[in-house]
């Protein structure tokens, strides 16, 4: 992957959009416009942006409840994501899902699961279907380090490897599952090694570096599409905020948080672009303005959105099969 100015702009803008979107969410949560659980992606933006840059339109994405960034980077419209969190019918899940359950058929974004590791078996099945139908596609499944402890993680990795399925597993290892550090729950904290033990081609990358993630993802996607079986990428990262909006953060040191903030993916990328003499080509003010426009529009769209009529409450429990 060549890092030219166009690519640099795309990456930077993609990450900045997520950052500003999430910051707006905090504000809207305080104003009680957004309710329920809200898990922010601040600090982890490089993964979504790097990863999605490697995917084609036909590829599919399954993810977790910390998925605003994945959705935006995948191309789900900010206004539909925002409307979803406002519980409006214009939301990408018609207001039925909320922050943790963003879905979007157009971009083959298969959600937002809030059951840890719940989507790994689904990804295996999606990939199985592609293999059976001889479609050259990849299914990407993103999950946290916490998922690694679930049985479904191990069952899914084994099946994917055993059946040589076109699936890319991406573990966002931010060091914590809620308030429990990885070292208290895993005998082996190098997660990629677990995948390797299932004979899956597997790699650990700096998840704070958008280019590292993009490079690893591009290679993995290519291999998977070439029929080489599943791939696994462990991205080392950190969430800068609390687990969700309710979290006293008693379980980690302020110092640790500050150390990781030094590696902020936006700052890290800025430093890199400076080294490459590309930074001068980035007009940050213009980006900020453009993104502010997108977010303001999203909030306005969500505000003006409609509530689904209560009479429709029982819709979508079963499919509406037309009898004509």
């Amino acid at each position: 992957m060549e890092l030219d100015l166009a690519k640099a702009k795309e990456f930077y803008k993609g990450m900045l959009l997520i950052r500003r979107f999430e910051e707006k969410c905090v504000e809207l949560y305080s104003n009680q416009k957004i309710r329920g659980f809200l898990h922010l992606y601040i600090g982890e933006e490089a993964i979504a942006v790097g990863l999605m840059s490697a995917l084609g339109e036909d590829d599919a994405v399954l993810t977790t409840y910390r998925e605003h960034g994945h959705a935006l980077a995948r191309g789900v419209r900010a206004k539909n994501v925002m409307a979803e969190m406002f519980g409006k019918v214009e939301g990408c899940s018609r207001g039925r899902g909320g922050s943790m359950h963003l879905f979007d058929a157009k971009t083959r974004f298969y959600g937002g699961s809030a059951i840890v590791a719940g989507s790994l078996p689904l990804a295996v099945g999606m990939a199985l279907a592609d293999k059976m139908m001889k479609r050259k596609r990849v299914t990407v499944c993103v999950f946290g380090d916490g998922a690694v402890a679930e049985g479904e993680f191990h069952e899914s990795l084994n099946l994917a490897a055993l059946w040589k399925l076109p699936v890319l597993f991406v573990c966002e290892n931010n060091g914590y599952a809620m308030g429990t550090a990885l070292k208290y729950t895993q005998s082996e904290t190098d997660i990629y090694k677990k995948a390797a033990s299932y004979k899956i081609s597997s790699k650990q990358v700096d998840g704070m570096s958008v280019t590292e993630v993009a490079k690893a993802a591009a290679r993995a996607v290519e291999d998977v599409k070439d029929g080489k079986g599943p791939a696994f990428i462990e991205c080392l990262t950190y969430r800068f905020r609390a687990h969700s909006m309710f979290d006293a953060e008693l379980y980690r040191d302020k110092k640790e948080v500050l150390e990781w903030k030094e590696k902020d993916p936006l700052l890290a990328f800025e430093r890199k672009l400076q080294e490459l003499n590309l930074w001068s080509g980035i007009n940050l003010k213009e980006f900020e303005e453009e993104i502010k426009g997108v977010i303001d529009e999203a909030v306005e769209f969500a505000e003006n959105g409609a509530l689904e009529p209560v009479e429709d409450l029982e819709k979508f429990v079963y499919s509406e099969v037309s009898d004509g």
Binding site: G36, F37, E84, V116, A149, A181, L250, Y251
Partner: protein, 327 residues
């Protein structure tokens, strides 16, 4: 009566007392230690008891629930905390295939003195995967006991009752109740497992309910009183075993029944209670029984839809009037 104790503190105090008194008791679950418990129930217990007895488990619901069963069979008195009923589904195999069956399969040789606590219920806009009320499901299974504390007193008492029980006991703590305050008398003799409690006496209609719906039913009873309807409100407390005696006595008194259950109607505890009344007290009834349950839809995120799906005071009032023949 002082209303000084929160439901959360009541559970915590009960665990603390049990752990001080019995070295076999330990607490195991996700984020119970350093984080202080997903609902802050175990906040401070790690400092007092250390990490050998307040065990932060990995996200392995099946694994650590099964480990709790094993430890219980081998002389310990574990309290397994499953964050919420939603995640207990990953441990369903251990609970239903092991905890509930081992005593029977072993011909009475191996009992499982295990306590499993979990949060339950909807109403916080957490979406379909985080809003289940599946206690009724577990009540289907012989071998398990299912408790649903509604008050701070029961939140406290039931931990002790469950630990004293030789068999697996599941305690469902409605997440919306943790901040609720109530009076707590730690010296009081607890009402045993399997006994319902008449929370408000009345003569016109029996409202049978449990968990957070108790408070909605009591509010509804107040409103009904203004219209001259004297509702009796019964807190079932235990869904398995069910207290048939208290239920039937109330039916004989009021001759009218309304059941409020946050589970879905189909195959629910409310259905079971109706069937039992039909079997045991059909001729005592003056009107068809009614119920208020959650609408049969995965709980939606949007507030107006979620509110419309869950049992609410106005629905209870309206349904009670229907039972009374007033609508």
């Amino acid at each position: 009566m002082d209303n000084a104790t929160t439901y959360r503190e009541a559970v915590r105090e009960a665990i603390r007392k049990a752990m001080r008194e019995d070295e076999r008791v330990f607490l195991m679950g996700e984020d119970v230690g350093r984080y202080g418990g997903c609902y802050a129930v175990s906040m401070g217990l790690l400092d007092e008891f250390g990490e050998e007895r307040i065990i932060d488990a990995p996200l392995s619901e099946s694994g650590f629930t099964g480990a709790g069963i094993g430890a219980a069979m081998n002389g310990m008195r574990p309290i397994v905390e499953i964050m919420t009923v939603n995640f207990s589904l990953l441990a369903l195999d251990q609970i239903v295939n092991n905890a509930a069956t081992l005593l029977h399969m072993s011909g009475g040789q191996f009992n499982v003195p295990l306590v499993i606590r979990m949060a339950t219920g909807g109403g916080k806009q957490l979406g379909a995967q985080h809003s289940h009320s599946l206690e009724g499901w577990f009540a289907h299974v012989p071998g398990l006991k299912v408790l649903t504390p509604a008050t701070a007193q029961d939140a406290y008492d039931m931990v002790g009752l469950a630990l004293a029980d030789p068999d697996p006991v599941l305690i469902f703590e409605n997440a919306l109740l943790y901040n609720a305050k109530g009076s707590l008398d730690v010296e009081a003799t607890p009402l045993p497992i399997g006994k319902a409690f008449v929370a408000k006496e009345g003569k016109d209609v029996s409202v049978l309910t449990y968990g957070i719906s108790l408070f909605k039913a009591l509010d509804a009873a107040q409103s009904l009183a203004k219209d001259g309807i004297d509702a009796e409100v019964i807190d079932l407390r235990s869904l398995r075993p069910l207290d048939d005696e208290t239920i039937m006595n109330s039916v004989k008194k009021t001759r009218k029944v309304l059941i409020v259950d946050e589970g879905w109607k189909s195959g629910s505890v409310s259905a079971e209670i109706m069937a039992r009344i039909n079997e045991q007290a059909f001729y005592e009834l003056d009107a068809p029984m009614e119920r208020v349950c959650t609408v049969e839809v995965p709980l939606p995120y949007a507030k107006h839809l979620e509110d419309a799906a869950l049992p609410q005071v106005d629905k209870i009032v309206a349904m009670a009037k229907k039972v009374m023949g007033e609508s």
